[in-house]
Symmetry: C2
Protein backbone atom coordinates (compact mmCIF):
# COMPACT_ATOMS: atom_id res chain seq x y z
CA UNK A 1 0.00 0.00 0.00
CA UNK A 2 1.77 3.06 -1.23
CA UNK A 3 -0.77 5.26 -2.94
CA UNK A 4 -2.07 8.05 -0.76
CA UNK A 5 -5.67 7.45 -1.78
CA UNK A 6 -5.42 3.84 -0.66
CA UNK A 7 -4.08 4.87 2.71
CA UNK A 8 -6.97 7.26 3.13
CA UNK A 9 -9.47 4.63 2.03
CA UNK A 10 -8.04 2.22 4.59
CA UNK A 11 -8.14 4.90 7.29
CA UNK A 12 -11.80 5.52 6.53
CA UNK A 13 -12.59 1.79 6.56
CA UNK A 14 -11.01 1.47 9.98
CA UNK A 15 -12.80 4.55 11.25
CA UNK A 16 -16.11 3.07 10.15
CA UNK A 17 -15.32 -0.30 11.74
CA UNK A 18 -14.31 1.49 14.93
CA UNK A 19 -17.72 3.13 14.95
CA UNK A 20 -16.25 6.59 14.58
CA UNK A 21 -18.78 7.20 11.86
CA UNK A 22 -22.17 5.81 12.84
CA UNK A 23 -23.99 3.47 10.46
CA UNK A 24 -26.70 5.55 8.82
CA UNK A 25 -24.83 8.73 9.70
CA UNK A 26 -22.91 11.10 7.43
CA UNK A 27 -19.26 10.99 6.43
CA UNK A 28 -17.20 14.20 6.57
CA UNK A 29 -17.31 16.33 3.44
CA UNK A 30 -14.68 16.04 0.75
CA UNK A 31 -13.35 19.46 1.69
CA UNK A 32 -12.93 18.46 5.32
CA UNK A 33 -11.25 15.18 4.46
CA UNK A 34 -8.86 16.83 2.03
CA UNK A 35 -7.88 19.28 4.77
CA UNK A 36 -7.51 16.53 7.37
CA UNK A 37 -5.23 14.40 5.21
CA UNK A 38 -3.55 17.29 3.43
CA UNK A 39 -4.40 16.07 -0.06
CA UNK A 40 -6.35 17.47 -2.95
CA UNK A 41 -10.04 16.85 -3.38
CA UNK A 42 -9.35 14.52 -6.29
CA UNK A 43 -7.37 12.18 -4.09
CA UNK A 44 -10.13 12.13 -1.49
CA UNK A 45 -12.60 11.30 -4.22
CA UNK A 46 -10.51 8.31 -5.28
CA UNK A 47 -10.55 7.06 -1.70
CA UNK A 48 -14.28 7.39 -1.15
CA UNK A 49 -14.94 5.92 -4.60
CA UNK A 50 -13.30 2.72 -3.38
CA UNK A 51 -15.56 2.56 -0.34
CA UNK A 52 -18.57 3.30 -2.50
CA UNK A 53 -17.66 0.42 -4.81
CA UNK A 54 -17.44 -1.85 -1.77
CA UNK A 55 -20.91 -0.84 -0.68
CA UNK A 56 -19.70 0.62 2.59
CA UNK A 57 -20.95 4.13 1.88
CA UNK A 58 -23.63 5.68 -0.28
CA UNK A 59 -23.15 8.77 -2.36
CA UNK A 60 -25.59 11.23 -3.93
CA UNK A 61 -24.92 14.51 -5.62
CA UNK A 62 -25.70 17.42 -3.33
CA UNK A 63 -25.98 15.41 -0.12
CA UNK A 64 -23.38 14.20 2.31
CA UNK A 65 -22.14 10.65 1.92
CA UNK A 66 -23.82 8.10 4.16
CA UNK A 67 -22.33 5.13 6.00
CA UNK A 68 -24.29 2.09 4.81
CA UNK A 69 -22.68 -0.58 6.93
CA UNK A 70 -19.49 -1.86 8.46
CA UNK A 71 -18.01 -5.07 7.16
CA UNK A 72 -18.28 -7.61 9.92
CA UNK A 73 -16.43 -10.31 7.98
CA UNK A 74 -12.91 -9.93 6.67
CA UNK A 75 -13.49 -8.36 3.31
CA UNK A 76 -9.93 -9.12 2.28
CA UNK A 77 -9.23 -12.65 1.09
CA UNK A 78 -11.53 -12.58 -1.82
CA UNK A 79 -12.28 -14.85 -4.70
CA UNK A 80 -8.70 -15.41 -5.60
CA UNK A 81 -7.37 -18.26 -3.55
CA UNK A 82 -9.18 -20.75 -1.36
CA UNK A 83 -6.11 -21.21 0.84
CA UNK A 84 -5.47 -17.50 1.28
CA UNK A 85 -9.06 -16.96 2.20
CA UNK A 86 -9.00 -19.80 4.72
CA UNK A 87 -5.87 -18.48 6.36
CA UNK A 88 -7.34 -15.01 6.66
CA UNK A 89 -10.32 -16.54 8.43
CA UNK A 90 -8.01 -18.27 10.85
CA UNK A 91 -8.74 -21.70 9.43
CA UNK A 92 -6.53 -24.21 7.70
CA UNK A 93 -7.10 -25.29 4.12
CA UNK A 94 -6.19 -28.68 2.74
CA UNK A 95 -6.19 -30.01 -0.77
CA UNK A 96 -5.80 -33.34 -2.51
CA UNK A 97 -5.61 -34.25 -6.15
CA UNK A 98 -8.00 -37.09 -6.95
CA UNK A 99 -7.46 -37.29 -10.67
CA UNK A 100 -5.13 -35.62 -13.13
CA UNK A 101 -4.67 -36.26 -16.83
CA UNK A 102 -4.08 -34.61 -20.17
CA UNK A 103 -6.63 -34.72 -22.94
CA UNK A 104 -7.61 -32.92 -26.11
CA UNK A 105 -9.50 -29.66 -25.71
CA UNK A 106 -13.21 -29.83 -26.42
CA UNK A 107 -14.95 -27.03 -28.24
CA UNK A 108 -16.07 -25.71 -24.85
CA UNK A 109 -12.53 -25.77 -23.47
CA UNK A 110 -11.23 -24.04 -26.57
CA UNK A 111 -13.78 -21.29 -26.32
CA UNK A 112 -13.09 -20.52 -22.67
CA UNK A 113 -9.31 -20.78 -22.87
CA UNK A 114 -8.95 -19.10 -26.26
CA UNK A 115 -7.07 -22.08 -27.74
CA UNK A 116 -7.68 -24.37 -30.72
CA UNK A 117 -10.00 -27.38 -30.28
CA UNK A 118 -7.92 -30.54 -30.03
CA UNK A 119 -4.98 -28.78 -28.45
CA UNK A 120 -3.83 -30.52 -25.31
CA UNK A 121 -5.21 -29.39 -21.95
CA UNK A 122 -4.70 -30.63 -18.40
CA UNK A 123 -7.71 -31.66 -16.36
CA UNK A 124 -7.46 -31.88 -12.59
CA UNK A 125 -9.96 -32.97 -9.96
CA UNK A 126 -9.28 -31.80 -6.41
CA UNK A 127 -11.06 -32.12 -3.10
CA UNK A 128 -10.41 -29.30 -0.68
CA UNK A 129 -11.09 -29.12 3.01
CA UNK A 130 -11.43 -26.65 5.81
CA UNK A 131 -10.14 -27.72 9.22
CA UNK A 132 -10.15 -31.32 8.06
CA UNK A 133 -13.68 -31.33 6.67
CA UNK A 134 -14.20 -31.67 2.92
CA UNK A 135 -16.13 -28.67 1.67
CA UNK A 136 -15.18 -28.14 -1.94
CA UNK A 137 -14.86 -30.19 -5.10
CA UNK A 138 -12.78 -28.48 -7.78
CA UNK A 139 -12.71 -29.47 -11.44
CA UNK A 140 -10.02 -27.49 -13.26
CA UNK A 141 -8.90 -27.40 -16.87
CA UNK A 142 -5.55 -25.72 -17.51
CA UNK A 143 -4.22 -24.44 -20.81
CA UNK A 144 -1.33 -26.43 -22.23
CA UNK A 145 1.34 -23.81 -21.49
CA UNK A 146 0.45 -24.15 -17.81
CA UNK A 147 0.30 -27.94 -17.69
CA UNK A 148 3.95 -28.65 -16.84
CA UNK A 149 3.98 -26.31 -13.88
CA UNK A 150 0.72 -27.71 -12.53
CA UNK A 151 1.90 -31.30 -12.87
CA UNK A 152 5.00 -30.49 -10.84
CA UNK A 153 2.83 -29.50 -7.87
CA UNK A 154 2.55 -31.99 -5.01
CA UNK A 155 -0.75 -33.85 -4.85
CA UNK A 156 -1.60 -32.35 -1.49
CA UNK A 157 -0.62 -28.81 -2.42
CA UNK A 158 -2.31 -26.46 -0.01
CA UNK A 159 -2.41 -23.34 -2.16
CA UNK A 160 -2.20 -23.80 -5.90
CA UNK A 161 -2.19 -20.10 -6.60
CA UNK A 162 0.62 -19.48 -4.13
CA UNK A 163 2.68 -22.41 -5.39
CA UNK A 164 2.40 -21.35 -9.01
CA UNK A 165 3.43 -17.85 -8.05
CA UNK A 166 6.48 -19.13 -6.16
CA UNK A 167 7.45 -21.56 -8.94
CA UNK A 168 7.03 -19.58 -12.12
CA UNK A 169 5.82 -16.15 -11.00
CA UNK A 170 2.35 -16.81 -12.33
CA UNK A 171 -0.25 -14.29 -11.20
CA UNK A 172 -3.98 -14.92 -11.40
CA UNK A 173 -5.16 -11.42 -12.17
CA UNK A 174 -8.72 -11.53 -13.47
CA UNK A 175 -11.61 -13.86 -13.02
CA UNK A 176 -15.12 -14.17 -14.32
CA UNK A 177 -17.51 -16.17 -12.20
CA UNK A 178 -20.96 -17.64 -12.71
CA UNK A 179 -22.77 -18.74 -9.57
CA UNK A 180 -25.71 -21.10 -9.23
CA UNK A 181 -26.96 -24.06 -7.21
CA UNK A 182 -26.95 -27.69 -8.29
CA UNK A 183 -27.73 -31.06 -6.75
CA UNK A 184 -24.79 -33.30 -5.91
CA UNK A 185 -24.22 -36.00 -8.51
CA UNK A 186 -22.93 -39.48 -7.71
CA UNK A 187 -19.28 -38.49 -7.97
CA UNK A 188 -19.82 -35.26 -6.04
CA UNK A 189 -21.55 -37.11 -3.24
CA UNK A 190 -18.91 -39.81 -2.98
CA UNK A 191 -15.92 -37.45 -2.89
CA UNK A 192 -17.49 -34.94 -0.54
CA UNK A 193 -19.05 -37.58 1.71
CA UNK A 194 -22.53 -36.18 1.44
CA UNK A 195 -25.83 -37.57 0.26
CA UNK A 196 -26.64 -37.61 -3.43
CA UNK A 197 -28.91 -34.73 -4.34
CA UNK A 198 -27.62 -32.49 -1.58
CA UNK A 199 -27.53 -28.83 -2.57
CA UNK A 200 -24.18 -27.50 -3.74
CA UNK A 201 -23.17 -23.93 -4.47
CA UNK A 202 -21.49 -24.01 -7.86
CA UNK A 203 -19.01 -21.40 -9.07
CA UNK A 204 -17.77 -21.63 -12.63
CA UNK A 205 -14.96 -19.29 -13.51
CA UNK A 206 -12.30 -18.44 -16.04
CA UNK A 207 -9.03 -17.00 -14.75
CA UNK A 208 -6.57 -14.95 -16.78
CA UNK A 209 -3.09 -13.50 -16.43
CA UNK A 210 -2.51 -9.77 -15.98
CA UNK A 211 -2.07 -9.62 -19.75
CA UNK A 212 -5.51 -11.12 -20.29
CA UNK A 213 -4.41 -14.61 -21.34
CA UNK A 214 -6.72 -17.35 -20.03
CA UNK A 215 -4.97 -19.69 -17.59
CA UNK A 216 -7.67 -22.13 -16.56
CA UNK A 217 -11.34 -22.59 -16.10
CA UNK A 218 -12.86 -24.25 -13.12
CA UNK A 219 -16.07 -25.75 -11.78
CA UNK A 220 -16.09 -25.43 -7.97
CA UNK A 221 -18.82 -27.01 -5.87
CA UNK A 222 -19.17 -26.02 -2.23
CA UNK A 223 -21.05 -28.08 0.31
CA UNK A 224 -24.13 -26.18 1.44
CA UNK A 225 -23.68 -24.27 4.66
CA UNK A 226 -19.91 -24.05 4.50
CA UNK A 227 -19.40 -20.99 2.36
CA UNK A 228 -21.43 -18.02 1.18
CA UNK A 229 -20.68 -15.10 -1.08
CA UNK A 230 -21.41 -11.47 -0.33
CA UNK A 231 -21.81 -8.66 -2.80
CA UNK A 232 -23.03 -5.08 -2.62
CA UNK A 233 -24.72 -3.20 -5.40
CA UNK A 234 -25.85 0.36 -5.85
CA UNK A 235 -28.18 2.13 -8.21
CA UNK A 236 -25.20 3.41 -10.16
CA UNK A 237 -22.97 0.41 -10.37
CA UNK A 238 -23.96 -3.22 -10.39
CA UNK A 239 -20.98 -5.52 -10.18
CA UNK A 240 -23.20 -8.57 -10.15
CA UNK A 241 -25.41 -9.49 -13.08
CA UNK A 242 -28.25 -11.97 -13.07
CA UNK A 243 -28.42 -14.34 -16.00
CA UNK A 244 -31.10 -16.61 -17.28
CA UNK A 245 -30.66 -20.22 -16.40
CA UNK A 246 -28.96 -22.46 -18.89
CA UNK A 247 -26.22 -24.98 -18.41
Amino acid sequence: MAARHEEIAEALREAIDRGEYRVGGPLPTETELSARYSVSRGTVRQAVAALTAEGRIGSRQGARRVVLGSRRSQSFAELRSFAQWARAMGRTATGEVIQQFRRAATVEDAERLLVQPGEEVLQVLRVRGLDGESVLLERNVYAQWMADAVERLPADCESVVQALYDDIGMIFAYGEHVIDAVAAGAEDARLLAIRRGSPLLRIRRVTTTPAGRPIEWSDDRYVSGTVSFAVANSIGSNPLARQAGQA
Copy 2:
Protein backbone atom coordinates in the same frame (compact mmCIF):
# COMPACT_ATOMS: atom_id res chain seq x y z
CA MET B 1 -26.96 9.46 -19.90
CA ALA B 2 -25.52 12.90 -19.88
CA ALA B 3 -22.00 12.68 -18.54
CA ARG B 4 -19.36 12.62 -21.24
CA HIS B 5 -17.42 9.82 -19.57
CA GLU B 6 -20.53 7.62 -19.57
CA GLU B 7 -21.05 8.22 -23.26
CA ILE B 8 -17.47 7.22 -23.94
CA ALA B 9 -17.77 4.14 -21.74
CA GLU B 10 -20.89 3.10 -23.64
CA ALA B 11 -19.17 3.72 -26.98
CA LEU B 12 -16.28 1.50 -25.90
CA ARG B 13 -18.67 -1.22 -24.71
CA GLU B 14 -20.39 -1.22 -28.06
CA ALA B 15 -17.10 -1.23 -29.92
CA ILE B 16 -16.02 -4.29 -27.94
CA ASP B 17 -19.33 -6.05 -28.55
CA ARG B 18 -19.05 -5.22 -32.24
CA GLY B 19 -15.67 -6.91 -32.26
CA GLU B 20 -13.88 -3.71 -33.19
CA TYR B 21 -11.44 -4.49 -30.40
CA ARG B 22 -10.54 -8.16 -30.41
CA VAL B 23 -10.81 -10.18 -27.20
CA GLY B 24 -7.28 -10.57 -25.89
CA GLY B 25 -6.14 -7.59 -27.92
CA PRO B 26 -5.21 -4.09 -26.78
CA LEU B 27 -7.44 -1.06 -26.34
CA PRO B 28 -6.29 2.29 -27.75
CA THR B 29 -4.12 4.34 -25.43
CA GLU B 30 -5.57 7.01 -23.19
CA THR B 31 -3.93 9.68 -25.29
CA GLU B 32 -5.49 8.36 -28.48
CA LEU B 33 -8.93 8.03 -26.93
CA SER B 34 -8.80 11.53 -25.49
CA ALA B 35 -7.92 12.84 -28.94
CA ARG B 36 -10.64 10.79 -30.63
CA TYR B 37 -13.39 11.98 -28.29
CA SER B 38 -11.94 15.46 -27.71
CA VAL B 39 -11.84 15.16 -23.95
CA SER B 40 -9.12 15.29 -21.35
CA ARG B 41 -7.22 12.25 -20.20
CA GLY B 42 -9.05 12.32 -16.87
CA THR B 43 -12.40 11.88 -18.56
CA VAL B 44 -11.10 8.94 -20.57
CA ARG B 45 -9.80 7.39 -17.37
CA GLN B 46 -13.25 7.66 -15.80
CA ALA B 47 -14.71 5.84 -18.78
CA VAL B 48 -12.21 2.99 -18.84
CA ALA B 49 -12.42 2.68 -15.04
CA ALA B 50 -16.07 1.76 -15.48
CA LEU B 51 -15.23 -0.99 -17.98
CA THR B 52 -12.46 -2.24 -15.71
CA ALA B 53 -14.90 -2.48 -12.81
CA GLU B 54 -17.22 -4.51 -15.02
CA GLY B 55 -14.42 -6.91 -15.84
CA ARG B 56 -14.54 -6.14 -19.55
CA ILE B 57 -10.97 -4.90 -19.75
CA GLY B 58 -7.78 -5.43 -17.79
CA SER B 59 -5.42 -2.67 -16.82
CA ARG B 60 -1.78 -2.67 -15.70
CA GLN B 61 0.58 0.20 -15.23
CA GLY B 62 2.93 0.54 -18.14
CA ALA B 63 1.11 -1.77 -20.52
CA ARG B 64 -1.79 -1.17 -22.81
CA ARG B 65 -5.23 -2.10 -21.57
CA VAL B 66 -6.46 -5.51 -22.67
CA VAL B 67 -9.94 -6.61 -23.73
CA LEU B 68 -10.85 -9.50 -21.43
CA GLY B 69 -14.23 -10.41 -22.85
CA SER B 70 -17.43 -9.14 -24.34
CA ARG B 71 -20.59 -9.52 -22.34
CA ARG B 72 -22.74 -12.01 -24.17
CA SER B 73 -25.69 -11.63 -21.83
CA GLN B 74 -27.48 -8.36 -21.24
CA SER B 75 -25.43 -6.83 -18.50
CA PHE B 76 -28.16 -4.29 -17.79
CA ALA B 77 -31.06 -5.47 -15.69
CA GLU B 78 -29.14 -6.21 -12.60
CA LEU B 79 -29.97 -7.16 -9.08
CA ARG B 80 -32.55 -4.48 -8.63
CA SER B 81 -35.85 -5.79 -9.82
CA PHE B 82 -36.92 -9.26 -10.81
CA ALA B 83 -39.56 -7.89 -13.16
CA GLN B 84 -37.23 -5.42 -14.86
CA TRP B 85 -34.68 -8.12 -15.35
CA ALA B 86 -37.24 -10.49 -16.83
CA ARG B 87 -38.48 -7.86 -19.25
CA ALA B 88 -34.96 -7.09 -20.41
CA MET B 89 -34.50 -10.78 -21.14
CA GLY B 90 -37.65 -10.78 -23.21
CA ARG B 91 -39.57 -12.86 -20.69
CA THR B 92 -42.61 -12.07 -18.61
CA ALA B 93 -42.52 -11.98 -14.84
CA THR B 94 -45.45 -12.80 -12.62
CA GLY B 95 -45.92 -12.45 -8.89
CA GLU B 96 -48.44 -13.53 -6.30
CA VAL B 97 -48.70 -12.76 -2.61
CA ILE B 98 -49.20 -15.96 -0.61
CA GLN B 99 -49.14 -14.49 2.85
CA GLN B 100 -48.97 -10.98 4.28
CA PHE B 101 -49.21 -9.87 7.89
CA ARG B 102 -47.84 -7.41 10.41
CA ARG B 103 -45.88 -8.57 13.41
CA ALA B 104 -43.39 -7.30 15.99
CA ALA B 105 -39.77 -7.01 14.88
CA THR B 106 -37.45 -9.71 16.13
CA VAL B 107 -33.95 -8.86 17.23
CA GLU B 108 -32.75 -9.97 13.82
CA ASP B 109 -35.26 -7.77 12.01
CA ALA B 110 -34.30 -4.83 14.19
CA GLU B 111 -30.62 -5.24 13.47
CA ARG B 112 -31.04 -5.42 9.71
CA LEU B 113 -33.60 -2.65 9.41
CA LEU B 114 -32.05 -0.35 12.04
CA VAL B 115 -35.28 -0.18 14.06
CA GLN B 116 -36.19 -1.03 17.65
CA PRO B 117 -37.06 -4.64 18.52
CA GLY B 118 -40.81 -4.99 18.96
CA GLU B 119 -41.57 -2.22 16.50
CA GLU B 120 -44.12 -3.29 13.92
CA VAL B 121 -42.87 -4.74 10.61
CA LEU B 122 -44.66 -6.18 7.59
CA GLN B 123 -43.84 -9.67 6.45
CA VAL B 124 -44.75 -10.79 2.94
CA LEU B 125 -44.38 -14.13 1.21
CA ARG B 126 -44.47 -14.07 -2.59
CA VAL B 127 -44.07 -16.63 -5.32
CA ARG B 128 -42.74 -15.29 -8.57
CA GLY B 129 -42.73 -16.85 -11.99
CA LEU B 130 -41.05 -16.58 -15.34
CA ASP B 131 -43.21 -17.29 -18.39
CA GLY B 132 -45.73 -19.01 -16.15
CA GLU B 133 -43.30 -21.24 -14.33
CA SER B 134 -42.66 -20.66 -10.63
CA VAL B 135 -38.97 -20.01 -10.11
CA LEU B 136 -38.62 -17.84 -7.03
CA LEU B 137 -39.91 -17.79 -3.47
CA GLU B 138 -39.53 -14.39 -1.82
CA ARG B 139 -39.77 -13.75 1.92
CA ASN B 140 -39.70 -10.02 2.58
CA VAL B 141 -39.78 -7.99 5.78
CA TYR B 142 -40.53 -4.29 5.33
CA ALA B 143 -39.92 -1.53 7.84
CA GLN B 144 -43.05 -0.02 9.35
CA TRP B 145 -42.85 3.26 7.45
CA MET B 146 -43.11 1.24 4.23
CA ALA B 147 -45.90 -1.07 5.34
CA ASP B 148 -48.88 1.03 4.22
CA ALA B 149 -47.55 1.49 0.71
CA VAL B 150 -46.78 -2.22 0.37
CA GLU B 151 -50.20 -3.28 1.61
CA ARG B 152 -51.83 -1.08 -1.01
CA LEU B 153 -50.19 -3.09 -3.78
CA PRO B 154 -52.34 -5.63 -5.65
CA ALA B 155 -51.68 -9.24 -4.71
CA ASP B 156 -50.52 -10.10 -8.22
CA CYS B 157 -48.31 -7.03 -8.59
CA GLU B 158 -45.82 -7.70 -11.33
CA SER B 159 -43.06 -5.34 -10.25
CA VAL B 160 -42.97 -4.28 -6.64
CA VAL B 161 -40.05 -1.92 -7.13
CA GLN B 162 -41.73 -0.20 -10.06
CA ALA B 163 -45.08 0.06 -8.27
CA LEU B 164 -43.54 1.60 -5.17
CA TYR B 165 -41.70 4.10 -7.32
CA ASP B 166 -44.87 5.08 -9.15
CA ASP B 167 -46.92 5.29 -5.93
CA ILE B 168 -44.66 7.10 -3.51
CA GLY B 169 -41.45 7.78 -5.45
CA MET B 170 -39.56 5.19 -3.46
CA ILE B 171 -36.16 4.33 -4.91
CA PHE B 172 -34.25 1.20 -3.98
CA ALA B 173 -30.73 2.55 -4.14
CA TYR B 174 -28.37 0.19 -2.35
CA GLY B 175 -28.40 -3.51 -1.66
CA GLU B 176 -26.21 -5.92 0.18
CA HIS B 177 -26.53 -9.56 -0.82
CA VAL B 178 -25.37 -12.86 0.62
CA ILE B 179 -25.53 -15.84 -1.71
CA ASP B 180 -25.50 -19.53 -0.82
CA ALA B 181 -27.26 -22.79 -1.59
CA VAL B 182 -29.87 -24.52 0.54
CA ALA B 183 -32.16 -27.53 0.28
CA ALA B 184 -35.84 -26.86 -0.26
CA GLY B 185 -37.86 -27.12 2.94
CA ALA B 186 -41.42 -28.40 3.09
CA GLU B 187 -42.96 -24.98 2.46
CA ASP B 188 -40.45 -24.16 -0.27
CA ALA B 189 -41.19 -27.42 -2.05
CA ARG B 190 -44.96 -27.03 -1.86
CA LEU B 191 -45.05 -23.45 -3.11
CA LEU B 192 -42.52 -23.92 -5.89
CA ALA B 193 -43.88 -27.33 -6.92
CA ILE B 194 -40.57 -29.09 -6.58
CA ARG B 195 -39.35 -32.04 -4.54
CA ARG B 196 -38.30 -31.49 -0.95
CA GLY B 197 -34.53 -31.27 -0.65
CA SER B 198 -34.07 -29.89 -4.15
CA PRO B 199 -31.20 -27.41 -4.38
CA LEU B 200 -32.16 -23.75 -4.20
CA LEU B 201 -29.98 -20.72 -4.80
CA ARG B 202 -30.59 -18.43 -1.85
CA ILE B 203 -30.00 -14.66 -1.89
CA ARG B 204 -30.44 -12.75 1.32
CA ARG B 205 -30.31 -9.00 1.02
CA VAL B 206 -30.97 -5.70 2.72
CA THR B 207 -32.15 -2.80 0.56
CA THR B 208 -31.85 0.87 1.48
CA THR B 209 -33.00 4.25 0.18
CA PRO B 210 -30.59 6.69 -1.47
CA ALA B 211 -30.18 8.28 1.98
CA GLY B 212 -29.07 4.96 3.42
CA ARG B 213 -32.27 4.13 5.33
CA PRO B 214 -33.09 0.40 5.29
CA ILE B 215 -36.32 -0.37 3.46
CA GLU B 216 -36.61 -4.13 3.65
CA TRP B 217 -34.70 -7.33 3.91
CA SER B 218 -35.46 -10.36 1.87
CA ASP B 219 -34.74 -14.07 1.55
CA ASP B 220 -35.08 -15.09 -2.09
CA ARG B 221 -34.86 -18.73 -3.17
CA TYR B 222 -34.44 -19.57 -6.82
CA VAL B 223 -35.19 -22.98 -8.28
CA SER B 224 -31.98 -24.56 -9.47
CA GLY B 225 -31.31 -24.17 -13.16
CA THR B 226 -33.50 -21.12 -13.66
CA VAL B 227 -31.18 -18.31 -12.67
CA SER B 228 -27.46 -17.79 -12.21
CA PHE B 229 -25.38 -14.82 -11.14
CA ALA B 230 -22.28 -13.53 -12.85
CA VAL B 231 -19.52 -11.46 -11.33
CA ALA B 232 -16.06 -10.38 -12.42
CA ASN B 233 -13.14 -9.73 -10.14
CA SER B 234 -9.65 -8.42 -10.63
CA ILE B 235 -6.48 -8.47 -8.62
CA GLY B 236 -7.07 -4.88 -7.64
CA SER B 237 -10.74 -4.79 -6.84
CA ASN B 238 -12.86 -7.63 -5.57
CA PRO B 239 -16.51 -6.70 -5.48
CA LEU B 240 -17.43 -10.15 -4.23
CA ALA B 241 -16.30 -11.48 -0.88
CA ARG B 242 -16.42 -15.06 0.29
CA GLN B 243 -17.68 -15.62 3.82
CA ALA B 244 -17.48 -18.56 6.14
CA GLY B 245 -20.64 -20.58 6.40
CA GLN B 246 -23.04 -19.69 9.16
CA ALA B 247 -26.80 -19.43 9.06
